[in-house]
Subunit: 387 residues, 2 copies
């Protein structure tokens, strides 16, 4: 996994603004992306039964399949804040609508941060005063990616070219992450022209193979959001190519989020292959990457086969065939239980990206899942945190 | 939770032996409990799809509903050791049978420790030479409880009187523990007279309310065993009283195991009450006690309500009714979201036993689950461990 450094391909027609409006401290906490025209749009939200107020608003407005702006604050998630919280999120949308003279139904709000604290909405509203004059073009997607960070250690962004069009994706992690649809916050912006129905189908398909296969700590946030805006300025694109490109970008962001999981030192990728059904492959993969004993083993590289067997075996309601199962470590050169233990130890301790393949031998379905190691630092980040 | 110091009530007719036979080092690693007569018996084993060789043997012999001896070694689990491993466990049973001149089908074997290493069976066989002369009576249950420990920090035992009869229970934890039937290793010995059918029903019922409601780290061992031997020397007992007493003892051991979870500093008990069905209550309880973000919060006592909501909300396939749900901390004096945050912080930081009640308000079913906090020490124990 390579950390991003620049946005290579920037879509036309997007503006951005980011600032510190002082929600908690002096660091960046507010970001806006604005398209010069209403864009075809789609979004997916958390599967947690309890959701933040912005999610309730987002689920409603995305039904129109159209967005012109996305506004995100960090430091406060506006979750479990009741009617006042709902009003506050609406206020932010209305403010952007009134500043930009657009319909408020074209503004998607997101919030991330502490749960259960009133959102200091006036600070955000003040931060959005004279938005039109503050917006810059081309959009500073790196600035936006930085403004939405919480415990992330680096801003996450990707980009690709596709015919005349470009796609940019930005995301934040990095704890409370086992999305079950999207994950955390992730947004894509493109100047490709694509209809809302196709866009929604493609977004779902890409999420199921990328963000939905990710777990940092098995916890599902109440605020997860994945959204895409396609403003069409670059004209039509090949839909199949578009889907392939978007899937690649989703996967790249997924790997960045896993690698930057709270306290993580390693990216852990597991291929579960030859399962009887896809769902079994994904469940077994998730059982492995969520196992605290496997995650601590990845951390310091002890070649403990038993923990992998344990994590596969504890998965509920899947078909297993012990004699046919094969476990292999590595990517280019595969190590199995007949390989010298010293080689495996070397592989596990000397690499920052650890790859495991579990061949179930019961069918033809496969799933790749992404996780990270569990370290003392994860505990420190989350135990010594004060609300 | 009080740590045990002495066995107050000792059943008649049981002998014991424990030693260090040198499986790994000089510490105790082998224990035997022997009844002077064949005992009515029952046992429950792990729900992991992959099981140790002793489990395969145990599942078979327990069908007879009778045992005369239990033999346990620590330091090596005899899991993933193939046919040779199976032979090795059988050899140990045969050795005890031949030393004591009993049928080998009356000997239940257990092994706990590292997975995937050949069991040094000759050391164990040597350790069992002249067993008859080495057995002591009354049985030294504390010695036995000590010999079966792995990363446990104290031996776990309980006892109770019931009419003329006594019951002793011993157990070990303390990682790879989310049993789904029994947990880890736990054994009960009683001189009560009770038929095999009733004993099995009672053991299952007690396990479902105690060991099955326990999770240290969400990982399910391949060797979990819960067994009971009733040699009948004290005559018949009231079956209802017997069940109540056994349930109390199972719960006490469950709490000890949770409190002594790897690296744990706190016992965390969660009551999920007023659920529509029992299964939902247990699932939600387990989701809370297994959430890394809740567990780290319990560790340092940050009063973060949001993490509890998150853990309830992420539970799959349960009926939730947000407006009716109530969350309260504490046992004697209950703290809710209207209580001063300083009081809650004080409660969470100044107690070694933390109690949470989640009132779902959707029905009348309840479940109590047991867990512990997640600390840097858990990571250290499991990451720096060398197989």
């Amino acid at each position: 996994m390579k950390k991003p450094s620049i946005i290579e391909h920037c879509p036309e027609g997007f503006y951005s603004y980011h600032t510190s409006c002082g929600i908690k401290d002096e660091s960046l906490d507010l970001g806006v992306i604005y398209s010069e025209n209403p864009s075809t749009a789609s979004a997916l939200f958390t599967q947690n039964a309890f959701v933040g107020e912005p999610i309730k608003i987002g689920r409603n407005i995305i039904k129109n399949g159209s967005l012109q702006a996305i506004v995100v604050n960090s430091k406060n998630s506006n979750v479990a804040t009741g009617l006042q919280g709902h009003e506050n999120s609406l206020k932010i949308c209305k403010k952007i609508a009134s500043e930009m003279k657009i319909n408020e139904d074209l503004v998607l709000p997101s919030s991330t941060g502490v749960i259960g604290r009133p959102l200091p909405v006036e600070k955000i509203i003040n931060g959005l005063n004279n938005l039109k004059t503050k917006l810059v073009k081309p959009a500073d997607f790196i600035g936006f990616a930085t403004a939405i960070m919480t415990t992330d250690t680096f801003p996450k962004f990707v980009s690709a070219k596709l015919g005349n069009a470009s796609i940019v994706g930005v995301a934040k992690g990095s704890g409370m992450i086992e999305p079950n649809m999207a994950t955390m916050l992730a947004y894509f912006f493109t100047d490709a022209q694509i209809n809302a129905h196709a866009l929604h189908r493609i977004l779902r398909a890409c999420a199921s193979k990328s963000f939905n296969c990710l777990s940092v700590d098995s916890d599902t946030s109440t605020s997860d959001t994945l959204a895409i805006m396609a403003n069409g300025l670059a004209g039509e694109v090949n839909v199949v190519e578009f889907e392939n490109t978007l899937e690649m970008l989703c996967t790249d962001l997924t790997k960045m989020i896993a690698r930057d999981g709270e306290g993580a030192t390693k990216l852990f990728t597991v291929d579960v292959i030859n399962a009887d059904i896809f769902d079994s492959a994904r469940k077994i993969g998730k059982s492995i990457i969520n196992s605290p004993l496997v995650k601590t083993m990845i951390y310091k590289g002890d070649p403990n086969w038993g923990r992998i067997y344990m994590a596969v075996g504890k998965t509920k309601n899947v078909h297993l065939d012990e004699p046919n199962m094969k476990i292999q470590w590595g990517k280019d050169r595969l190590l199995d239980s007949n390989s010298p233990i010293s080689e495996l130890h070397k592989y596990l301790t000397e690499n920052e990206e650890i790859h495991l393949t579990v061949d179930l031998g019961t069918g033809t379905e496969s799933c790749r899942v992404y996780g990270c190691d569990l370290t003392e630092e994860y505990v420190r980040i989350n135990a010594y945190y004060t609300t």
